[in-house]
């Protein structure tokens, strides 16, 4: 989806502000919002990419006006309404109550299965990304490729700044499920994912800072052989 989350290369955001000795969470609610993804029964999203897409579809002006965990909060509110866990009216009324009674306690709840899922998520080795099925790699390290020029309304991990650009495969990462599909519950179409190196001048032209390169991890379906366009022109 072409929205403001895809900000690689944009101008105008100013200097990078660095905070010394930053806490993990600046306020308690941030940690709670962070944990909702696992601590809500279900869980909230079918996978990480579905959760990312829920951030991408936030209205651009609200995305830019929010903090990182503020965006997680917005997506949680939208998601629990979408799932039918609560209605917007219930949320509005309960918020009005806490505005009036900000010291009112929040009830506690526990659920053995949810707790066990949380523990195993952090304590067990995660599931490997590698799939034994799927389409074999079309490219190998050293091959020159060109990225496709696409603009899907759906989730994708090919950023705008790297579309229709030539790069070189530096590593075959393995056969991985396609993020574009699993975000939406579509068949995972496991295929090769590659680290691809792009020269700064290929990405930014004469406005590049100088010599340098940027690497992206790209699925096979984002790529075509670099000579394809030349062949078509012949």
């Amino acid at each position: 989806m072409d929205s403001v989350h895809d900000m690689g290369g944009m101008h105008g955001f100013g200097p990078v502000l660095h905070e010394e000795n930053e806490p993990v969470f600046h306020e308690d609610w941030e940690g709670h919002v962070y944990a909702f993804g696992t601590a809500v029964k279900g869980p909230l999203f079918r996978n990480t990419d579905a959760g990312r897409y829920a951030l991408e579809v936030l209205p651009p002006a609200e995305y830019l006006a929010s903090t990182y965990y503020g965006r997680w909060l917005m997506r949680t509110e939208r998601r629990i309404v979408e799932l039918g866990y609560v209605t917007q009216q219930e949320l509005d009324e309960r918020l009005a109550y806490y505005r009036e009674h900000s010291d009112a306690p929040v009830p506690r709840g526990s659920d053995a299965a949810t707790m066990e899922r949380a523990q195993s998520r952090y304590e067990r080795r995660p599931r490997s990304l590698h799939r034994t099925d799927g389409t074999p790699p079309r490219f190998k390290a050293g091959d020159t490729v060109r990225t496709i020029n696409n603009h899907p309304l759906t989730h994708t991990r090919l950023p705008r700044y790297a579309r229709d650009k030539c790069g070189v495969i530096v590593r075959v990462n393995g056969i991985h499920d396609l993020a574009d599909n699993i975000a939406h519950g579509l068949p995972p179409e496991p295929q090769a994912n590659y680290s691809v190196r792009f020269d700064a001048r290929e990405l930014w032209g004469d406005d590049a800072e100088g010599e340098g390169c940027v690497y992206l991890d790209l699925w096979d379906c984002y790529l075509e052989p670099a000579d394809r366009r030349n062949d078509a022109a012949d």
Binding site: D103, T114, R157, Y161, G210
Partner: protein, 209 residues
């Protein structure tokens, strides 16, 4: 929650933020409906406040600096070598370690969201999630590093890794000169989070020099 909470002997110095109230509204509704485990929230928050943070990555780096055989395994298969020290978990299923050298400097970003290697670095700092860092470091890495006080010589190659898929990157910073006599444990204390993202180099404190 402690027993004395009922006495309301602690109170907030400032009114709670709108966000804090919205989170209370969500939690109270979901708990009433049996859909939220606050125990699990506490467990996850405590994990990141106490266990999972940049000290894990610093131990990996210090081991690599002092054990050439470990360093070889780390660069060859980051996931397994990091797991040898007991670090794994979400956002660390596949780890690749990038070695900074006198000729090559690596720096990591996620322009699309804020992907970050949680098991070795914990949750990302605010600057890593900022629009400024996400937008700029792929286009002008030297200028961004300069804002962190890191001046790269012109002849050093800059490699920016946009961790846009599921591979997560950890930078192995250069071991600074003058640390030859330091133990692995002492070296661990020198390694900063920022050096493992690649926006800084590891410095030797003046006292050690």
């Amino acid at each position: 929650m402690s027993d004395n909470h009922d006495h309301h002997d602690h109170h907030h110095p400032e009114p709670e933020s709108e966000a804090a109230l919205r989170v209370k509204a969500i939690e109270s509704l979901l708990v009433e409906k049996g859909l939220l485990s606050t125990d699990a929230i506490d467990f996850i928050v405590e994990k990141f406040e106490k266990d999972i943070g940049p000290l894990n990555g610093a131990k990996v780096v210090a081991r690599a600096w002092t054990d050439p055989e470990y360093k070889r395994r780390l660069l060859e298969n980051g996931t397994e070598a990091i797991a040898e020290l007991g670090y794994w978990g979400p956002q660390g299923a596949e780890m690749v370690v990038l070695e900074n050298t006198p000729t090559d400097h690596h720096v990591v970003v996620c322009t699309l969201c804020s992907c970050y290697p949680w098991p070795v670095l914990g949750l990302p700092p605010t600057w890593y999630k900022s629009f400024a860092y996400r937008s700029r470091v792929v286009r002008e890495p030297r200028a961004v590093l300069r804002e962190f006080g890191t001046e790269l010589p012109d002849d050093v190659n800059v490699h920016v890794w946009d961790s846009n898929a599921e591979v997560r990157y950890l930078v192995l910073p250069e071991r600074p000169a003058g640390t030859e006599s330091m133990s692995e444990e002492e070296l661990t204390t020198l390694v900063t989070r920022d050096s493992m993202i690649g926006v800084a180099n590891v410095e030797v404190p003046a006292l050690v020099k």
